[in-house]
Every structure is written in structure tokens, then in C-alpha cells.
Amino acid sequence: MTDQAFERAIVDQIQAMYRVCYAQLRSHADREDAVQEALKKAWEKRKSLKDDGALKGWLLRILINECHNIQRKNKRMAPSEYIPAGALPPPDADSTLHDLMLSLPEKLRITAVLIFMEGMTIAQAASVLRVPQGTVSSRIHKARHILKTQWEEANRE
């Protein structure tokens, strides 16, 4: 892949990168820091990516790692119970789904993002998250159950 094609491919993944960041980081600044650092690493390693079709998973895996790094640092900035919990949903988001997704435990949430939002297969998500496929299928089963139950409850109210 040429550098230009690589740049284009990255730009094509902006929405996916945004969703992955959003699922893991509450502040705009953190999301932007994460994507900057991930892009730097991806750029440095771009020549090692031989299968163009694997770019998305490869890029998101790097990004998820960066989000984890920032989360870890943030935990030291302030005790978690004093970090503002609820973020206002973006204006174009479905506020109910937004809150439901954010209420999922993080491991279920990021798995749900990869499968439900990014359309990855279990094998692809397992590769991105570096966990066995069985773990992904278990997480997605739980996430689906929680979302479905809460969605139905929310609609009954």
C-alpha cells in the first residue's frame, strides 16, 4: 500500500476510530490524544501491514491499546468515583442507546462496539482484542442480553 493509499485508508476509518475511542474514553481531549498516539504508531509500522484488508482491525487494536494507556493514567489523576460519570450524548446520537452502551462494563462495551457497530466477525474481534474467540462470543452474548433487557425496560417506561 502506498503512503497515499494508507492515508486514505486511515481517513476512511475515522468513524470507526471515533466509536472505539468514545466507548472507552469520556473526554474529547483524551479521545484526541489516543487517536494521535495510535496514528503515530500505525504510521511508523505501516510498512509491516501487508494485507490491506486487515488495516481496520490492525488500526483499532493499536487504538484500543492507546485508550487503555490513557485510562490507566487517568486513574492516577483522580480517584474514579470523583470523575464525572455521565457524558451528554452527542446531538446526533440516540440518547437511550448511548446511555445503555455506556452502562455496559467496559470489556462488554468494547466488544459490542466491534461486533455491533463495526460489523466485525467473532474471529476478527478476537484478533483485535487479543482474546480467544470463545471469550468474545461469551462477552457478546452477555452484552446482547443486557442491552436487549434494558432496551425493553426503557421502552416500557
Binding site: Q36, P79, M101, A112
Partner: protein, 461 residues
């Protein structure tokens, strides 16, 4: 999921303008930084000679060894698609055994240690990674493709036998995707690779008025192949030129099996006078589009400058004012950043080289943006806080051996507290980077020593 409930993909909305600009700005800056580096590198002529030498070596080696280990790498990756250094130990051992069988430098003593029941797995893992790194370097993204590149050189220079074998193996393992292109090895009666290159070169010189001297700067890549559309074998010769750190196709010539130039191809890159004109127009259009894209990216970068400056103001203020080394050594190398008033994005400060867990409380307070208070006179000391935290965790039965304590201060609604984290610090053997895994955390009152919380980190539970 989508059939049963509302579309989850709308839960987070779309990336806002600032996020999009952030990505574009970062790409522009990365590209700019690399351009600066490339300018300082040695000339392409020297690199081309080096590449030829590497190719010559790789070819010589390839003639004397088998490629079973590459097939094994493909096989294992096909079954579990992870980079090689992330493989489990048994998979690495299988690869290494095949590497030895193929004549690569792996000693019997090493194999013996790897197979011994007396050697702990961690030690075997380390040895296995060392052996792999000895042959393929410490590339955390090592894959079967990069292994082949290490051994044979750039794919454009692989021999016809290597290409045919490699792609056939990829097909067999299910790694080739839907491509219908099949590389072949010429048979008796076919023209040779050298003849194909010579004829293609002459055709380029004639159609594009290229001189012999100009042609000398190009590197020829050759395929002998069939596809689902063209089932009679034919030659494709690509002439590559070094451009932007990689090799780009300058001319492509298609030859029949017998070596005659053919125009029977839809690709604009193939040699015909009409296609030559179209290709030039197409290239010019693409160049304009690219210039425009870059220009817009740079404009966006300027537009967003004030936003970034304000958002990260604290951090960057530190870079410029508290870290003379950055100002002296880094910024002069980054004229665009300096002229635009845009500071380095990626924690270049020498103080920040190590993870902040290694810093003193004073440095954390000084160099981070957090509102961390410095310990006051009526606080217990940080060392005492660590001691108390350690005791609280040990009393709960936790094992803290090999964990590194780091101390932070907080003001929780007027209450002074210490947060102490006990982290596993792991140095990545592939790239030397340090990974920090927080295992336990304790929060205690900085004045009364009261333990407010002592727990196992959620992600390690």
C-alpha cells in the same frame, strides 16, 4: 441485533469536526516529519545498491534452503491470526524446529533447552523470542509475509519460483483472499525472465521515448501468471522507481507467453500509445487531488491550532517554558511546528521519557496537568503511605512481590489523601517498551493514615 432493537450503531453519533480535524492534522504532521527525515537520509543510489546486495544474498540463500518454516508460519497464522511474537510457546517451538530443519542457524543446544522439561516455560519463551529475533528482528508485527521479505528481499524482486510457491501456499492456507491471479514458473520453451525484461525495456524506451540512461534507474519486477480472465500464461514486467520511501510503478508492459508486447489488457498502466496518454492525464489528475487534499489538511491544521493550543495548553506550556532541552533540541528540527506555533504532539520531553509511575511526587505535580497537591507538613510521608498501603493489602492476603508502588496525592473535597498503586512493570522484549499493569490500589487519609480503600484492580479480578 439490528432486527431486534434500534440500530446500535447510532449510540455514539458521528465523529465531531474536532475529532476529524485531529486525525487529518496528525496525518499531515506525521507525513511532514517523515519528509524531514527522508531528506536527511543517504541517496537512493546507495540504497538501491544495498538492496541489490541484499537481494543477491537472499537469492543465494533461497537456493540452498527449504521454505517449510514459512509454510508453517502461514499455517499457524491461518488457524490463529495473531502476530508471531504473540504466539503461544508450542507454536513458536514448531516454527523454530522447522527453521532449524530448513538450515537456519538454530543450534541443537537451543532446541534441547526448548524441549527440556527442566527449563521453565518463561525461560523457553524468552529463548524462543531471541531465536526468532535473531533471524527476523524485533518487529512486534512480525507476520509470515515479513518473514519472507526478510529472507528474500522486497516482493518486487522475488524470483518467479518464490512468487509462485508463496502465493500457492497462501491459497492453500486460505490466506490469499479472492484474488484470481496465479503466479507460475516458466516451462521449457518459454522465454526467460531476462528476455522478458529486455523486451519490455525496449518497448518502454520506444513508446515513451525513454533513454537507456533513464531506464537504468528503474528496477524491474516480473510476473509470469494466469488469471480467471486470462488463462493463457503471460508476462507482466513492472518498472519501479524509488518514490516517497517506497517503490512506485512507473511503467508496465504486458508480454505474451512468447514474448511479444500485447495490448490485450484493461489496465491503464499497460503499454500502448493511447494508454500512455491516458495514464499521464490520470497521474496529473491524481497529483492535483493529492495536492488539494494536503493543502486542505494543512489549512485545517491552522484552523484548529487555537483549539489544540487551548485544550492542551497546560501540557504544552510546560514543554516550552519548563523544558529547555525540548526548546533547544526538538523545536529547531520542526520548523513547521515552530513557525505555526504548534508544539510537538508526542511527549518528547526528556522528563517524560519514562512512565509517570517512576516520577517523584514533586515531578508529577510539576509536569502533569492534574491538580495534585504537594504533601504538606501535617501529612504522613509518601514512604509511610506506601508502607501503610502495603500492610493493608498484605493483611488481606495479597502478594505484592515483584510489584512496583507509585504514589499520588489528591484533595477530595478538602480531605487530603494518598493513592498508592502497585503495578506489574513488564518490559516488552520485542521493542523494549514498558507496559504497566496496575494490580492493586489503596487510598488512605494523608493525615490520619485511615485506609479508605484497598482493592484488587477491577480488570485483574
Amino acid at each position: 441485533m439490528k432486527n431486534e432493537m434500534m440500530d446500535v450503531s447510532r449510540a455514539f453519533g458521528r465523529a465531531d469536526d474536532a475529532f476529524v480535524a485531529c486525525v487529518e492534522k496528525t496525518l499531515v504532521q506525521l507525513k511532514y516529519q517523515e519528509e524531514q527525515k527522508v531528506k536527511k537520509k543517504i541517496g537512493w543510489g546507495v540504497i538501491a545498491i544495498a538492496l541489490l546486495l541484499i537481494l543477491a544474498m537472499a537469492t543465494a540463500i533461497a537456493l540452498t534452503i527449504e521454505w517449510k518454516h514459512i509454510e508453517t508460519a502461514m499455517d499457524l497464522i491461518a488457524k490463529n491470526d495473531v502476530f508471531i511474537y504473540d504466539w503461544k510457546l508450542p507454536a513458536k517451538l514448531r516454527l523454530i524446529a522447522d527453521m532449524q530443519e530448513d538450515g537456519m542457524a538454530v543450534s541443537d543446544e537451543e532446541i534441547k533447552r526448548l524441549e527440556s522439561d527442566q527449563v521453565p516455560d518463561a525461560e523457553k519463551e524468552k529463548l524462543a523470542d531471541e531465536i526468532i529475533a535473531r533471524h527476523y528482528g524485533e518487529d512486534e508485527y512480525l507476520y509470515y509475509y515479513t518473514m519472507a521479505e526478510r529472507e528474500w528481499g522486497m516482493p518486487i524482486e522475488w524470483t518467479l519460483e518464490q512468487r509462485a510457491w508463496f502465493h500457492q501456499m497462501e491459497r492453500e492456507k486460505g490466506l490469499y483472499g479472492d484474488f484470481s491471479w496465479i503466479d507460475l514458473v516458466p516451462e521449457k520453451g518459454d522465454i526467460s525472465r531476462e528476455t522478458a525484461v529486455e523486451r519490455a525495456k525496449n518497448a518502454v524506451m520506444e513508446a515513451w521515448n525513454v533513454t537507456e540512461t533513464e531506464m537504468a534507474q528503474y528496477k524491474a519486477g516480473v510476473s509470469f501468471f494466469i488469471t480467471d480472465v486470462y488463462d493463457i500464461p503471460r508476462w507482466q514486467v513492472d518498472f519501479y522507481i524509488p518514490r516517497e520511501g517506497t517503490w512506485s510503478t512507473a511503467y508496465t508492459v504486458l508480454l505474451t507467453r512468447e514474448g511479444a508486447v500485447t495490448e490485450d489488457w484493461e489496465d491503464l498502466g499497460v503499454l500502448t500509445p493511447e494508454n500512455a496518454r491516458k495514464k499521464k492525464e490520470e497521474d496529473a489528475k491524481k497529483a492535483l487531488e493529492m495536492d488539494d487534499w494536503q493543502r486542505r489538511g494543512k489549512e485545517r491544521l491552522q484552523e484548529m491550532e487555537s483549539v489544540f493550543f487551548n485544550r492542551n495548553g497546560g501540557k504544552h506550556y510546560h514543554f516550552l517554558n519548563d523544558c529547555p532541552l525540548v526548546e533547544e533540541k526538538f523545536l529547531p528540527l520542526e520548523p513547521l511546528a515552530k513557525d505555526a506555533g504548534i508544539f510537538p504532539l508526542f511527549t518528547p520531553c526528556p522528563v517524560c521519557v519514562n512512565d509517570d509511575i517512576f516520577w517523584s511526587i514533586e515531578d508529577k505535580v510539576r509536569y502533569q496537568c492534574g491538580n495534585w497537591p504537594l504533601p504538606e507538613e501535617d501529612w504522613i510521608s509518601p514512604d509511610r503511605a506506601v508502607e501503610m498501603a502495603r500492610k493493608a493489602l498484605v493483611d488481606q492476603g495479597y502478594d505484592l512481590s515483584s510489584l512496583y508502588p507509585s504514589v499520588y496525592t489528591h484533595d477530595l473535597e478538602g480531605r487530603a489523601v494518598y493513592s498508592i498503586f502497585f503495578d506489574a512493570v513488564i518490559t516488552d522484549m520485542h521493542d523494549g517498551s514498558v507496559m504497566i499493569d496496575p494490580i492493586y490500589s489503596v487510598m488512605l487519609d494523608a493525615k490520619t493514615e485511615e485506609i479508605l480503600r484497598a482493592e484488587l484492580n477491577e480488570s485483574n479480578g
